[in-house]
Structures are given as C-alpha cells and as structure tokens.
C-alpha cells in the first residue's frame, strides 16, 4: 500500500539529528520497553506473522504514522493485531478492563524460553519448485504496480530499471504472508543507479540496492 511508511525520497522531513552513539539509551522512556516486550511476547502466540505485524502499523492514517513516535506506531500496530485476532475486544482496549472471554492459550512465552526462542530466530527461506526467472547481470524493470495490501516494493523503485546482482533463493513472499498465506518466491537483490531513481540532476557516484521478489520484476522492455 502507498502508506505513510513508504518514505524513500520524501522531502521536507528535515535533518537526521542523530544522538551521540555513546549517549543514546536503548529505550528513551520506560513505556517503550513495555511496548517492545509486549509486541515480541505476543508475537510468539502465533496469531500473526511479521508481515501482518508490519502491515498493522502501515495501515494507520499516514498523518498518524508520521506524527507518532516509533514505539507509538508499534503500540498502534499491536492494538490492531490484538483486536483483529480476537484476543482482545475493542471495548476491553477502551475500558482497560477484562471482559468475560478468556482465550485458550497454550503458547504463552515464558521467561525460561526467551533466550532459546530469540536465538533460534525464524528462517524465511522457502524452496520454490520453479527455477529463478532472472539471472545475475540481467537488466530488469520493477513492475509499476500499486497494491492496496502490504508490499515490500518501495514506491521509488516502481517502473525503474535495475540490474540483478544476487539471487537469494526462495523467500516467503510478504504480500501474501501479510494475508496469512505462506508462499515462497525467488528473491533478488537489484542494483539501481541513483540517476535512474532520482533523475540525472541528482545522480552522483551512487547506487541503491533493493531486495525484490520475482513477481515485482519483469524483463519486458528491459535490455536483453
């Protein structure tokens, strides 16, 4: 979706103003710790996946997304996921008090499990039966498509020409994963010249590399 999260190339946002590396705390407020931990812990309930979690944040009104701080966006996304999955009702969220329904939960993350679960991670590699359509060195064009659901093809790449520089094999396809379907698709790293993305006036000695799934790409109209 062309939401408030798709920020590459946006103007008017000002300077980066980084805090000094040695001074910056991991969390700036104690509530941020809790939002972070609640998001991770509830993720282990298995009711939603990472792309659904991203999509829940992206679905906010763009004005809210941009005005919120980072962990405010996490909180908004978490509340959406909890209600959408039926773990909490809107009324419970609003009132802060428990209604009657208690979900059967067998997968609650315990303190003992934390270390192992984090270390184990979750591979997104998923073998694909068909051979990859594109080869390293080939020119491709990003399909100019604007899906209303979750996608990981940034707006600034759509319709642009790039070169395949790496094949990663099959990875879970995020657009369908965000709808709860686990399908694999070949993933590639595509190199774009800055001039192709931002206009020749803005092109220096710069390239941008973007990881893109096979269905985002076409060879039609590209140099053979």
């Amino acid at each position: 979706m062309n939401g408030g999260h798709d920020l590459g190339g946006m103007h008017g946002l000002g300077a980066v103003n980084p805090e000094s590396e040695t001074d910056e705390p991991v969390f700036h407020h104690s509530w941020e710790r809790r939002v972070f931990a609640l998001t991770l812990a509830t993720g282990f309930l298995g009711r939603w996946n990472l792309d659904q979690s991203r999509h829940a944040r992206e679905r906010q009104h763009p004005v809210d997304y941009l005005r919120n701080t980072y962990y405010e966006n996490w909180l908004a996304g978490l509340q959406t996921l909890l209600v959408d999955s039926g773990l909490l009702t809107e009324a419970e969220l609003q009132s802060g008090s428990c209604g009657k329904g208690f979900p059967d939960q067998e997968m609650v993350l315990t303190k003992k499990e934390v270390k192992a679960k984090l270390q184990e991670g979750k591979s997104v590699e998923l073998p694909v039966a068909e051979p990859p359509q594109f080869v390293v060195g080939q020119e491709v064009i990003v399909v100019n498509r604007h899906p209303i659901g979750h996608t990981r093809a940034p707006r600034y790449t759509r319709g642009r020409r790039g070169t395949v520089i790496h094949q990663h094999g099959g990875h879970i396809f995020p657009d369908e994963h965000a709808m709860g379907d686990r399908t694999g698709q070949h993933l590639y790293t595509i190199r774009f010249d800055a001039g192709e993305l931002w206009g020749e006036d803005n092109a220096g000695n710069e390239q941008v590399y973007v990881d893109l799934w096979e269905s985002y790409l076409t060879s039609e109209g590209a140099k053979q």
Binding site: E21, T42, L109, K115, L118, Y209, D211
Partner: protein, 215 residues
C-alpha cells in the same frame, strides 16, 4: 536483573521518574495489565526480553565480528562468502539476523544501510536500532541523498568514492565491514574491537586513524 517490571530503570534520562505518568504510559500499563490478566503474556518474560536487548545484545557483537575479520584473513574470507556460518561460529544468531550479508568498505566503495519501509536491522550483531535509524528523515533521505546524510554524521567522502546504499526491504540483514583504521597494526583483536563503532557498521561513519591520545 530487576524483578519489578513497573519500576523505572537507571537508563531513563527523561522525566518519567519525577513527573506524573503520561497518557501513553498509562495506556501501555493498562494494556499490559489486560494481557497479563488474560493470561496472554508472562511479566517475567517481558522483563527478560527487555533485559536481553538493553544489556546483552548490542554492537559489541558486531564489533567482535569486524575486528576478527581485520586480523584473521581466513575468517574474513569465510565471513564474506558465507556470513551466516561465520557469524554463528562466534556465537551470534537468531531473531532479525537469520539471513545476513556483509558489505565490505574499500577505498573506492562505501556502503550504507537503511530500511525505508520500516526499521529492519541486524539485531544479533548490533542490538536494537538507534532512534535516528528509525526516523523519517533518515529513511527518506539515505536512499535519495546519501552524501548529504553522511555529511550530517560528519562523514565527508570524495566523489571518487562510490556510495552503495542498501535498502533492507526483505529479511536479508546487512552489516557493513568498515575499513580498519590507520595506525592500528600493533593492536590486538580485543583492542581493535573497542575501536569499532556501531555507526561504522551501519555505514554512516568511517573509523578515524588511531592515536594514543584518543580516549
């Protein structure tokens, strides 16, 4: 390790401890109580998650990888060819680091990592991302005007240096292997590790030549 998960921690440099709780603080507390009451989260697990990323997993892990790559050519080759296995051999793996690639800086090429769509970042190597990495200005501008962004970090690269920006749109995670700073031939791996900054592994800075008068 603290047992009381409601209490403010020493790292809080804001006003949380002395002022009345903010609206959002109350909302988050209410949500946590609700989830605990429903049996959906274990408060001790929440504390453990926070403690892990606040105190145990951080850029010192990435710095270990980088300093080893500087002193051990075989490890460096392994790291560039098969980063996942090289990094796992040092004990780092897991969430948000399942699929890693290492980007080597040279005199001619400087790599810079961003996530324009959210905040993807190699957690097992660098911990949680700093605020600026997740901020709208960085996400918007790192891809479209990387040299200006680098200037804002005090990193001024000549136009002869090619800047390669990596937008983390998939679950591939990117770690920059910065160039070893000058005047460090006499330093041990452990001493070198201390010179590696988090920012150099994201690619927003290069490492200054070493001098004994450095702090």
């Amino acid at each position: 390790m603290q047992d009381d998960h409601d209490h403010d921690h020493d790292h809080d440099h804001e006003h949380d401890a002395t002022e009345a709780p903010s609206e959002i603080e109350l909302r988050v507390k209410a949500l946590e109580s609700l989830l605990v009451e429903k049996g959906l989260v274990d408060p001790a697990a929440l504390d453990e998650l926070v403690d892990t990323y606040e105190h145990h997993v951080g850029p010192q892990n990435g710095a270990h990888v980088v300093s080893k790559a500087w002193v051990d050519p075989i490890f460096r080759e392994h790291l560039l060819a098969n980063p996942g296995s090289a990094i796992a051999s040092l004990g780092y793996s897991g969430r948000q680091g399942e699929h890693i690639r290492v980007l080597q800086n040279t005199d001619a090429v400087h790599n810079l990592v961003v996530c324009t769509l959210c905040s993807c970042y190699p957690w097992p190597l660098l911990g949680l991302p700093p605020q600026w990495y997740k901020s709208a200005p960085y996400r918007a501008r790192a891809v479209s005007e990387p040299r200006k962004v680098l200037d804002e970090f005090g990193t001024h690269l000549g136009t002869d240096v090619s800047i390669q920006v990596w937008d983390s749109t998939s679950e591939m995670r990117y770690l920059v292997l910065p160039q070893r700073p000058a005047n460090t031939d006499h330093l041990s791996e452990a001493e070198l590790q201390k010179l590696v900054t988090r920012n150099s592994m994201i690619g927003v800075e290069t490492l200054k030549p070493f001098s004994d008068t450095n702090d």
